[in-house]
């Protein structure tokens, strides 16, 4: 543990910000600002050791809850732990009320701007806004012009990035209008920070976030156009590879909505439906975290495979509402900011309450001249959203680069916008050396209330820079984040949505299960079981490797290696011991335990909104065990057996949670079907390869088989020490009371299949004959129940087992057909879509 030494202890609170910037904690004279004093005193009183310990706890919580973000373009970037600093940013109540008023005004102004541009375009006709900003803007979606919008509200969630200049004034850096991210991270930051500093949080009067999310829910509920009583609201995500997928899953769970991907939705009769196991269910409101142009491959961006074909037409027909309204990305650009003061005066007859960072759109003569004369002091950006170029800092350009840029500006001035270089304020962040100043940008959020006035979240997502060398503040670029405490008393009763389950609509009825989710649950069940059987196999073999003097061990080892190679766990002609270690630890090797465990975690990630936090923690622990690097050769066997023991316990915990913690809905059913299918397939394979040799009642071999099958104790309690092949086969194959036997699995599967929903409503099917999966499973169960074990295991004329191999082969083939039939009946939503284009 790296705690600061004695010297560090004395200096930990010695905080030295750069006086050229506004510092949130201290005045230019170096005094702690009064509203920070209580927090600062508490932290100081507790001491750095205490903070370090609390902080380690918080990091564990973040990892365990799987609070992550994805980094684009980084092969190892998938779900990194979310970086959160322990010290919150404090905001004084009076200052907050002016921020609040300014953000509410700005949200309302931008909403009015969208209403006009996607409607009568009066602002263009009256020359209040240059039409280039609309006509030349690739984000102006003509297909969604004049689409009906409930209450003329297009911004159902608005976000603004704010920064503070040296004189203490807050400025708007950027607007987020189509699918603003981060509100969920702000909430998660609050949950973690309050658990890290519970005593301090209790003593400080901090405004709560929950009412804001309740207001957001109310807004979305109010969007339902037809079925107002009990509308179905879904959260549409681009999928697990999106940067903020964690947040999508987190918000879906917190708000009580189904998390869906484009392929889970379909349009019929100009209505949107969710494809579920129970058929098509109407959808009333879509909370989308997908960009405008990706929402409908028919009318918007044709190459998008993420969207829902026909969605725009469904909106047009007034059958579904989308939040934020399609097309709202139009104004997510700096060039609009230059015109907001004038628009605010002409539309609302008021002054804009918070300025935007100074902005010049180059499409007009005067601003262009100004920009050309002041290139060195400005940041040049593309005028429209989606401009692939990074901002250009005029100060960093050489003379020749500058004149090349000036030529580009003159050639197509309307494509460029220039902004003043922003000076950011600093705030202390904690690292184990003490407090260090870092730049900050604060993202604030607003939702429309009744009557179209906006309510601002009393809190924010604060992001801090990675160092003082760069003013780039981005989690993508290595920065961090902070909870934001708005001080003051509550204006109304504020409570947490996470508190009473009764307030979250319990809308997870079993028939709501999207087919894609059922598919993933089925495979999660299969992979978890595959890990377990692999672990049991390895665990049974390991002791044999170190006990070669034992007379029974030689035949045990022989059968074990036959099973291991038959089931493709080890490769032929390799040293068994070394290959076994690789089969356990080498996660780059396909079908190694480490590899399967990684697959389990990836599947669970796809199901992040369906897997409980406890189950997620267990799966994280499972993967962590395998992720640690391979131990040195001398310790491998020892480490391996520890890891295997640990894994068995972790898996038992997962099964326990699944058995005890999941409602007996279709989700649980598919998870369990997956486990049963895999267990019966593994057991069948075990018998096939374990009894591949000539028939014999070899006690060494049979006891290894029982050990792998986790049935030794049952066997001994019945038959004591007598080892007989027919008794072993009976216990593992046909005994319906043994939870490890094939017969037991088939009996459970038969029950499950009987409870699956009828399929006539599913896509592309019209009749409801007896389903193939139901026929197959009945056939399998009957053939095992009727199997004549003593006859199967008697030596045949050729000196081999009489009928066992053929019987097991048939069993294994029919199991595969059963799995395929299930896929066809329930998971076949994944047919590829294609574009049909005129030529």
């Amino acid at each position: 543990m790296s705690l600061p030494g004695e010297a560090g202890l004395r200096e930990a609170w010695d905080y030295q910000p750069n006086t050229a910037h506004y510092d949130e904690l201290t005045t230019p004279q170096g005094d702690v600002r009064p509203y920070w004093q209580p927090l600062f005193d508490s932290l100081k009183a507790a001491g750095p050791d205490d903070l370090a310990i609390r902080w380690k706890g918080a990091q564990r919580l973040i990892r365990a809850n799987g609070v992550t973000y994805n980094v684009y373009g980084d092969p190892h970037g998938a779900d990194r732990p979310w970086p959160l600093d322990p010290i919150p940013l404090l905001i004084d109540p009076r200052e907050w009320s002016s921020i609040e008023a300014a953000i509410a005004q700005r949200a309302q102004l931008l909403n009015a701007l969208l209403a006009d541009l996607y409607g009568p375009q009066r602002l263009l006709h009256e020359s209040l806004l240059p039409p280039e900003l609309v006509f030349a803007n690739p984000s102006f979606l003509r297909a969604v012009h004049a689409l009906p919008v409930p209450g003329d509200i297009r911004l159902h969630l608005y976000a603004a990035d704010l920064a503070r200049s040296p004189d203490g004034q807050w400025w708007v850096l950027a607007d987020r209008t189509q699918a603003p991210s981060g509100a969920g991270y702000a909430l998660e930051n609050r949950l973690v920070t309050t658990r890290t500093l519970p005593d301090i949080f209790r003593r400080t009067r901090v405004r709560r976030l929950a009412t804001f999310f309740q207001a957001y829910k109310d807004t979305l509920l109010g969007l339902a156009l037809t079925r107002k009583e009990n509308p179905r609201i879904v959260l549409l995500t681009p999928g697990p590879f999106n940067e903020t997928y964690f947040e999508h899953a987190f918000l879906a769970r917190y708000l009580g909505y189904s998390l869906v991907e484009g392929a889970d939705l379909t349009v019929r009769d100009r209505r949107v439906y969710l494809k579920t196991l129970g058929g098509l269910l109407p959808v009333d409101v879509i909370l989308r975290r997908q960009d405008d142009s990706f929402c409908d491959p028919l009318e918007l961006r044709a190459e998008s495979m993420l969207g829902v074909p026909g969605l725009v037409e469904a909106v047009r027909a007034g059958n579904v509402a989308i939040a934020n309204a399609l097309g709202s990305g139009l104004i997510e650009t700096a060039s609009i900011s230059a015109f907001l003061p004038g628009l605010c005066r002409s539309l609302f007859n008021e002054e804009l309450k918070m300025p935007s960072v100074a902005t010049w759109w180059c499409g007009q003569e005067e601003p262009l001249q100004y920009v050309l004369e002041h290139l060195s002091n400005l940041v040049i950006k593309t005028a429209f959203p989606g401009g692939a170029q990074d901002p250009i800092f005029g100060a960093k350009l050489s003379a020749s680069e500058k004149s090349a840029l000036a030529a580009r500006l003159r050639a197509a001035p309307h494509l460029y916008v220039a902004q003043e270089q922003v000076s950011l304020s600093t705030v202390p962040v904690w690292n184990h050396e003490g407090l260090l100043p870092r730049y900050l940008v604060m993202r604030v959020y607003a939702v429309p209330g009744p009557g179209g006035t906006y309510k601002v979240m009393p809190g924010a997502l604060t992001r801090v820079s990675a160092s003082l060398d760069s003013t780039v503040v981005s989690v993508q670029r290595g920065g961090g984040s902070k909870d934001t405490w708005v001080l003051g008393v509550e204006q109304e009763s504020e409570f947490s949505l996470l508190r009473p389950p009764s307030h979250i609509e319990v809308n997870r009825a079993t028939f709501d299960l999207p087919s894609r989710v059922a598919d993933n649950l089925y495979w999660l069940g299969r992979y978890v079981e595959r890990v377990e059987s692999g672990v049991r196999l390895a665990r049974a073999v390991l002791p044999l490797l170190s006990q070669e003097s034992d007379p029974g061990a030689a035949s045990g080892l022989k059968i074990a290696s036959s099973i291991l190679s038959g089931m493709h766990y080890v490769r032929p002609n390799q040293r068994l011991e070394r290959d076994l270690v690789s089969m356990i630890f080498d996660s780059d090797r396909r079908y190694s335990l480490g590899w399967i465990v990684h697959e389990v975690r990836s599947l669970a990630w796809l199901l992040r909104d369906r897997v409980s936090n406890d189950a997620w923690r267990i799966l994280n622990r499972l993967e962590e065990g395998f992720r640690t690097s391979r131990p040195p050769e001398s310790l491998q066997l020892l480490e391996a057996s520890d890891l295997l023991d640990q894994t068995i316990l972790t898996l038992a915990a997962f099964s326990g949670l699944a058995m005890e913690g999941m409602t007996r809905g279709q989700g649980w059913r598919f998870l369990d079907i997956g486990r049963r299918v895999e267990r019966s397939a593994q057991m069948t394979d075990l018998l096939r390869h374990g009894l591949a040799g000539p028939p014999a009642d070899d006690p060494g071999a049979l006891s290894v088989l029982l050990e792998i099958a986790d049935s030794s104790i049952t066997y001994r309690s019945r038959y004591l020490t007598t080892m007989q092949a027919d008794l072993v086969v009976d216990l593992l194959l046909t005994d319906e009371t043994n939870p490890r036997s094939v017969a037991f699995q088939l009996a459970r599967l038969t029950e499950h299949v009987a409870h699956l929903p009828e399929s006539q409503q599913r896509e592309g099917e019209s009749s409801s004959r007896r389903r193939p999966e139901s026929k197959l499973i009945l056939g399998l169960l009957t053939s095992v129940q009727l199997a004549d074990v003593p006859d199967l295991v008697r030596p045949g004329e050729d000196g081999l087992w009489n009928g066992l191999p053929a019987f097991l082969d048939r069993l294994s083939k029919d199991m595969r057909r059963f799995s395929d039939a299930l896929s066809t009946s329930y998971f076949s939503h994944a047919l590829p879509s294609q574009q049909l284009r005129h030529v």
Partner: protein
């Protein structure tokens, strides 16, 4: 004169399609010189629903969904249109191209604001210095705009080779400018890009040609260009045939480029490989009298 057009689009699939959503723009719009008398849209298999609307540019769009599994989809639009002869302005009396450019730049009235939106880059048409250089010989200083437009059309007609398999709809106009070969869509995109590069508004017109074996582009859907001329309005010109459309051209839809007026597009679930066949017939309507 009254014309009847029959536009048939047939999609054939190797595998059944279980669901498809489609959008077609095949109903001729009514304009100052053409009047749509009747329009009928036949779709096989029968669609689950069919809705007509006007798009952003005022074109008629039909949206429909087919849920019956099918391996062939046929869309037939039949229209009867009354056509007036075009009252072509005298090119040498039109305003100079610089006047047009400056007039539109100020966009002081609804008509010039409407024209203003056809000045910018769109998906298929990206103005560039190369296009400006290509346009310049047709637009010496103070030349009346329509003379310039007619000259540009003539240069495309004589300088480019009509070559049905040289390009696809994905071929960028800049490549067509280099290779100097393509079909009516390509020539129209080149001409529009050239005009927009001089800050002159230009739009893309999709339509039909009266069936005539001597004319290029008959029997399939056709495309040409419209240039803005204040005081007159929009002036149509067909660079593929180098003609000013008169009674042989039937306007269906207009927009910034092909992407805005694609005659038929759709998204299908399943279907495997697909092929598309399009036929267009435009014949004088024989009245019953």
């Amino acid at each position: 004169m009254t014309l009847r057009s029959i536009h048939t689009t047939t999609y054939s699939y190797s595998e059944p399609v279980s669901l498809c959503h489609n959008e077609v723009r095949v109903a001729p719009r009514s304009t100052s010189r053409q009047h749509l008398l009747r329009h009928d849209l036949q779709i096989t298999p029968e669609p689950e629903n069919l809705a007509h609307r006007k798009d952003y540019y005022g074109n008629d769009v039909a949206f429909f969904t087919v849920i019956e599994p099918h391996k062939t989809l046929t869309i037939t639009g039949t229209s009867v249109v009354e056509l007036q002869p075009a009252d072509a302005p005298l090119p040498h009396l039109s305003p100079t191209w610089e006047e047009v450019r400056d007039h539109v730049r100020l966009h002081r009235n609804p008509e010039s604001l409407d024209a203003f939106q056809f000045l910018f880059a769109s998906d298929y048409v990206k103005p560039s210095p190369a296009f400006a250089a290509f346009a310049e010989p047709s637009f010496p200083a103070r030349r009346p705009i329509l003379e310039g437009v007619i000259d540009l059309s003539r240069r495309i007609h004589t300088g480019f080779k009509y070559s049905p398999h040289a390009t696809t709809i994905a071929t960028p106009a800049a490549e067509v400018l280099e290779a100097r070969r393509g079909v009516c869509q390509d020539f129209s995109h080149v001409m529009i890009a050239a005009l927009r590069s001089l800050a002159l508004p230009a739009r893309y017109v999709s339509g039909y040609l009266r069936s005539n074996p001597k004319v290029v582009g008959a029997e399939v859907s056709h495309a040409w260009v419209s240039a803005y001329c204040p005081g007159f309005g929009w002036f149509d010109i067909d660079p593929t045939n180098n003609v000013v459309p008169a009674e042989g051209h039937l306007t269906v839809a207009w927009g910034r480029d092909y992407g805005d007026v694609t005659p038929a597009r759709g998204v299908a679930l399943g279907g495997g490989e697909h092929t598309i066949k399009v036929t267009v017939k435009v014949l004088p309507e024989i009245s019953a009298a």
